[in-house]
């Protein structure tokens, strides 16, 4: 994949090419490309004058970073404690049963990625599912399974 490194450079310049900006730079790259392309990490290492292994280590360590391309829509199922006791496991089971998707999976056509997240701080509406930043509260297995199915169809390539 040919990657436009100008965007990466712009992000690095915004934060300044210094080690303490590493996390912020990587977050922006991850957001811009929806994952961390290998070339971008090499570029960051080069500009911040640190070993690629450090950049890669950070990318591996933190949960937010993705090393593989993501689906066009991200479905985050909250697995916070409040959501857990109010039935998140049943949501996930149903999605797996109906759509054969497990947390961390991306559909083959890159339409959707299913992720879990440890609490989004909307515990009063538990169980919670977040689809590209929009929160769905009091989610039931059937609703979410249908929602995911619909999202997969509307986001087909």
């Amino acid at each position: 994949m040919e990657l436009n490194l100008t965007d990466v450079d712009a992000i690095i310049d915004h934060w300044g090419p210094k080690p303490d900006s590493l996390l912020q730079i990587m977050l922006d790259i991850n957001h811009r490309f929806r994952f961390l392309p290998r070339e971008s990490m090499e570029r960051v290492a080069e500009r911040l004058r640190m070993p690629v292994s450090q950049v890669f280590g950070v990318a591996n360590f933190f949960k937010v970073f993705r090393l593989k391309p993501q689906g066009r829509v991200l479905v985050h199922v909250c697995t916070g404690t409040a959501c857990h006791v109010k039935g998140t496991p049943r949501l996930l089971d149903r999605i797996q049963q109906d759509l054969h998707l497990r947390p961390g999976d991306t559909t083959e056509d890159l339409s959707l990625t299913l992720e879990t997240v440890n609490c989004v701080g909307a515990c009063a509406s538990a169980p919670v599912v977040v689809v590209d930043g929009v929160t769905y509260g009091q989610a039931t297995p059937t609703e979410i399974s249908q929602l995911a199915k619909k999202l997969m169809e509307t986001n087909k390539a």
Binding site: L23, Q24, Q54, T81, H84, K86, V117, G121, A124
Partner: protein, 617 residues
């Protein structure tokens, strides 16, 4: 915006803002806290604003999108001031009606009023609703009154006056003495006295010092830091500047969770506004004090709530903690003296300076002072953020404020302290909640999550849940935590799946104690707490799993069997059609039965049965 170049300037500005505000007849507080936000609170605020603008009423009525009002179960909530009228579950379509009838017409809209669960009567005013009346709201009240993005609104309520007072009338030592006298302890979990920490950091040698705010609220089930930072960022910023002045720091960082995009946005906006007024930057309020704050985002690692890991991550490294034999107040970020406190801790500082340490110390118990915000969630009627004085009995929080357990179910336990905490059983419902008492009960304060569990919650499953969380979040630096938590998770999973033995429970206790002793940081040391506390109070549930191969709460799937009641089944066939694994067998109009081998225990049949004929054994 003009830069404020002296303490007097701030006072002049405040009077100007107040004069402007006094022209308003009424103001409408629309809650935009985390829960209301997810239910359309922001859209609601915009709808009110549009109505006011379209009808040329902006000179008389003010619409305020505010920080979290706490009563999340009633969200989105609207409060009309100065009458203090409270409307819950407000849909966007009700805006014109509320404006015409209540705001302009002065009439009540019955069906939007709060109904008291006990008496069944309607309550008009926010302050009269038991949920609010039984609390002692200091930080939360200000947050609920605050316009999320207007610094002027914060200043109008006396915002930044504590900073002005500290900078112009107090020496750094006096500030520290005041905070020490208040007995303010870290609200992030550790409970270390904030004043003592500031003093050690002030004394530590070094030209450059840092003040940091931990907004990496990783405890699942706690969201008070999110609510405060999103809804009232200036109170945190003011607290940080005061701390920086006391310590002699020139630079500050807020480390905020990536999962809280709105907190990042509102925090950054607030920093810009404060800078524009000269409340951050060079020569703050003309007193010669320089200090600035930057907001950094985390990237989803629970361990980064641990001080040394947080600092490593700020330096652009992997967020691994280090041993605590060298204190961060001496060698923290970039090996320089650094002070780290939690969002809520800083949010308490301005009122301590304004009203005095003595006043603050008069609230709470002997060793735990002031108030604490708890996020009361799970199986509870009044979910929301609750602020009470330290030492308030758990019973008062759960029943009087929280309104008890839904559907008349029985309380089983209250989980506090997140993955580092434990479960308080129903027997200890009269426990006064403070740092010491929670610790004695085998749990901890943590950042203040309170997850209420009823009879349908399996305590072994809860322990497994937290161990699973910790297995994923352990950074892997030290062996006890990396391997120990994983092995404990395997054992508890085996118990949940009916493969456990009685010896496993003892083994868990033994491993737990080892982890507490040998782990490097707080995460590992407290990781066994959820297991140990559930074994301590709910050993019978573990025994039911290992001896009888039964899950009393009917949660652990492999231990359940689905059965059809022959009396109730009419043979309608709904469950047979819906069952994804074809486990329901039976001819039409004849009683069905479930093939246990094929059943995946998904519960679809129960959902689809109209006669309640399917039960779990």
């Amino acid at each position: 915006m003009n830069r404020l170049s002296s303490v007097q300037d701030l006072e002049v500005l405040r009077r100007e803002i107040l004069a402007r505000q006094s022209k308003m007849l009424k103001w409408i507080r629309v809650c935009c806290g985390p829960a209301c936000h997810s239910r359309g609170g922001e859209k609601l605020a915009r709808a009110f604003q549009r109505y006011v603008e379209e009808n040329n009423l902006s000179d008389r009525y003010l619409v305020k999108p505010t920080g979290c009002n706490g009563f999340c179960a009633e969200g989105p909530t609207v409060v009309i001031e100065p009458d203090n009228l409270f409307y819950g579950h407000v849909g966007i379509e009700r805006v014109p009606e509320i404006m015409e009838r209540t705001v302009i017409g002065g009439e009540l809209i019955e069906d939007l009023l709060y109904v008291d669960r006990e008496t069944g009567s309607r309550v008009l005013r926010e302050r009269e609703i038991p949920f609010y009346a039984k609390q002692l709201r200091l930080v939360m009240e200000d947050t609920a009154a605050n316009h999320t993005t207007e610094i002027d609104d914060y200043i109008s309520r006396g915002g930044y006056s504590a900073l002005a007072r500290a900078l112009s009338e107090m020496t750094p030592e006096q500030v520290i003495a005041e905070v020490k006298g208040a007995g303010l302890r870290g609200r992030g979990g550790g409970g270390f006295p904030a004043g003592v920490k500031w003093e050690s950091c002030r004394r530590a040698r070094g030209e450059i010092k840092y003040v940091m705010c931990n907004a990496d609220e990783g405890d699942p089930g706690a969201y008070m830091d999110r609510a405060v930072l999103e809804g009232n960022p200036h109170v945190v910023i003011e607290g940080m500047i005061i701390a920086a002045y006391a310590i002699g720091a020139g630079e500050g960082y807020i480390y905020c969770r990536y999962e809280y995009p709105l907190a990042v946005k509102n925090g950054n906006h607030a920093l810009d506004r404060a800078r524009a007024y000269g409340l951050l930057g060079k020569n703050i309020l003309g007193t010669g004090f320089d200090f600035d704050i930057y907001l950094n985002r985390g990237a989803g690692a629970f361990i980064c709530g641990e001080s040394t890991a947080l600092m490593a991550s700020l330096e652009g490294k992997i967020g691994e903690p280090r041993g605590k034999h060298i204190h961060t107040v001496e060698k923290g970020l970039w090996n320089r003296p650094s002070n780290l406190n939690n969002v809520e801790t800083y949010a308490n500082v301005p009122q301590i300076i304004n009203r005095g340490g003595k006043w603050y110390a008069s609230i709470g118990t002997e060793r735990s002072k002031g108030t604490k915000i708890f996020s009361l969630v799970g199986k509870i009627n009044n979910t929301g953020l609750v602020e009470v004085a330290m030492g308030t009995p758990l019973r008062k929080i759960v029943y009087e404020i929280g309104g008890g357990i839904p559907q008349g179910k029985r309380l089983k336990a209250v989980q506090t302290g997140g993955p580092s905490g434990g479960c308080i059983p129903e027997e200890l419902i009269d426990l006064p909640v403070d740092y010491e008492k929670l610790k004695e009960a085998g749990s901890m304060m943590g950042s203040g999550g309170m997850i209420v569990m009823d009879e349908e919650t399996c305590m072994v499953d809860v322990a497994r849940y937290f161990l699973n969380f910790l297995t994923e979040e352990s950074c892997g630096k030290c062996v006890p935590c990396r391997v120990g938590v994983k092995r404990m998770h395997e054992i508890v999973t085996a118990i949940c799946e009916g493969r456990g033995t009685p010896a496993d429970v003892d083994q868990l206790e033994k491993m737990g104690r080892t982890l507490q002793e040998a782990s490097l940081c707080g995460l590992g040391k407290s990781a066994p707490n959820p297991v140990l506390s559930t074994i301590r109070y709910f050993r019978h549930e573990y025994e039911a799993h290992v001896r009888d191969r039964k899950c009393p709460a009917k949660v652990c799937k492999p231990l359940l069997t689905y059965e059809i009641d022959t009396e109730k089944c009419t043979g309608c066939g709904r469950c047979r059609i819906k069952c994804p694994s074809g486990a329901v067998i039976g001819a039409k109009k004849e009683c069905h039965c479930i093939d246990e081998e094929l059943c995946v225990r998904c519960g679809i049949c129960i959902e689809s049965c109209k006669f309640g004929a399917i039960t779990i054994e």
